[in-house]
Symmetry: C2
Subunit: 384 residues, 2 copies
Amino acid sequence: MDYGAASPVDPRVLEEMMPYFSDSFGNPASLHSYAFEAQRAMERARGQVASLIGAEPGEIVFTSCATESNNLALIGAALRYRSRGSGVVVSNIEHISILNICKELSKQGFEIRYVPVDRDGIIRLDRLEALVDDETVLVSIMAANGEIGTVQPIREAAEVAHEHGALFHTDATAAAGKVPLDVGEVGVDLMTLSSNDLYGPKGVGALYVRKGLRVKPLMIGGGQENGMRSGSENIPGIVGMGKAAEFAKKEMKSEAERLTRLRDRLIKGITEEIPASYLNGHPKRRLPNNANIRFSYIEGEALILSLDELGIQVSSGSACAAKTLEPSHVLLAIGLKHEEAHGSLVFTLGKGNREEHVEYVIRQMPGVVRRLRSMSPLTPEELR
Amino acid sequence: MDYGAASPVDPRVLEEMMPYFSDSFGNPASLHSYAFEAQRAMERARGQVASLIGAEPGEIVFTSCATESNNLALIGAALRYRSRGSGVVVSNIEHISILNICKELSKQGFEIRYVPVDRDGIIRLDRLEALVDDETVLVSIMAANGEIGTVQPIREAAEVAHEHGALFHTDATAAAGKVPLDVGEVGVDLMTLSSNDLYGPKGVGALYVRKGLRVKPLMIGGGQENGMRSGSENIPGIVGMGKAAEFAKKEMKSEAERLTRLRDRLIKGITEEIPASYLNGHPKRRLPNNANIRFSYIEGEALILSLDELGIQVSSGSACAAKTLEPSHVLLAIGLKHEEAHGSLVFTLGKGNREEHVEYVIRQMPGVVRRLRSMSPLTPEELR
């Protein structure tokens, strides 16, 4: 139940990729027939990814991962359109890559403003309106938060950005393939997509760049990807991401319904069976696969290790920040205390999870929590 | 015979990668058992890549491709050590990514100096000595040129750099796995490696960063790869590159001998059978798999297309620049005229090539060349 950290490649996706490793292994930039095959495969994949978000194929730039897409979007757009202004506005629950990119932009003279969220993790639109002004070059608000699952009002956020002539980027790593996203409807200028979060291979991502816009390339070289991302293309990876996007589009609705049922059963089962356990994030406006639950008087790390022994894999926050031992910045941003944040667990459900897995977790967790609480001097007598 | 543009993944490498797509698919940053497996696989691969070049595992940073490694090396080192000086020295036959990165560094205030090469494509060490001074922060000379095959005296070049306190980077994309490279012997500070050129998967590369050095990260985020390259790691790709490096080390000697025989037969067969055809690059100090031959009174593009119809795939230069229709900057740098550069073909041999392939090419080429020459008004009567 840690699909947010990493996902297995869908076997149908892997099958699609296989011929491109050792048979159709051409470089799309060559002039001979091997190149044409690679070129065709890449353009088909571009169309599949575009279709998932209602974009045109020419608006998709393939990258090596969501982190690269975030770097390309923020640094690339901020530098390219610097003459429009030097203000950048992001939420304070963005992925660590966005927040660290902002620190770098700040060193380069940009003024970064952070939009707070409410206790459910929804960005404060009133505060966003107050923070965006005519000096703002870029607003970046994630489509959904991978830790607490909250789905953001990005259409409204994009409107605020556009009223002031700023560009709008959304990191859709956690949201794509889980909730419908249409770049036309939402009014997005730049959107980050991850392959692995769609059950595609690791090592590939994409950035949607609205037609007519350009970003300053992060990687300079042969001018691939319309000059915005140089480097010989990872054709098997790109083919895999394309196929994964195709399945995500086709199966999103039924899978989201299935996951929502499992998620709600998991939340209800745990919070009813275990005293002093509470849901983090919005009860309704959340990703179908996300349950973030906090347990008083307990350390998340200890819970993770104990559950791992029982064959249950979960996370204490974003895997990207798992080893810092710092409490999740997202949980602090929704107003939790340090010890509450430390006692929270993230369950991210996925294709492999069935009802029996959820029931198993609900059966096992109370004993684990009780045992760990019994070892803590802070636990009140009635919870031991 | 276009292995320089793209290589098939070795089936043994692909087999090694397979479990990491859908079974052992963990994120090394997680805290549970899936993570440990991913972590172990990644560290094993790091050791395998390090071993190919005589480095320590901790000196290998995994990236998404050789172009990224070149960007990270040049931009990352130039910015990180800017206080040492703002001079950068490169050869004028570097890969297009290096040359384009230099243009960007130039915009950022660095002074770029270009070392010329002689008619065989060997860098002029005397000129290098004259160009490097105490203001030089970085010297970058490729280990071997992928177009004309020339192997460079990088040990001597590194010495020149170090005498002036400059760092030395080498782009070993074309050389690694073909000729022995030992970072200790050569005295390299930074070295670019490509996975696909070792018969590993596309979408992964590495940068050797000598212990004690750091480069400014190009991609900012969760702090993976010792803070020098953020983004969730492409575990199957990394595992593949590791295995490919292991095979490259083990099989380099015998494969280089085999390819050298094929290469020499190819060069001899073509230049003897076809009048007005000449070898480009150094006759001896060249990659075992490279033959670059120019044909007077003919266009390389026309040759490529005609040969493709006969099942022969070759290149007119670097695939990365194939579509620009500009003559190769490498061929111009060794003193060829525009029309000579346009009439040149690059053969890059590889694992799949056998003697019968070479003989087939030698049999087919004279007819193709004669036919194309007969269509050109420039062709002298005796060659028609």
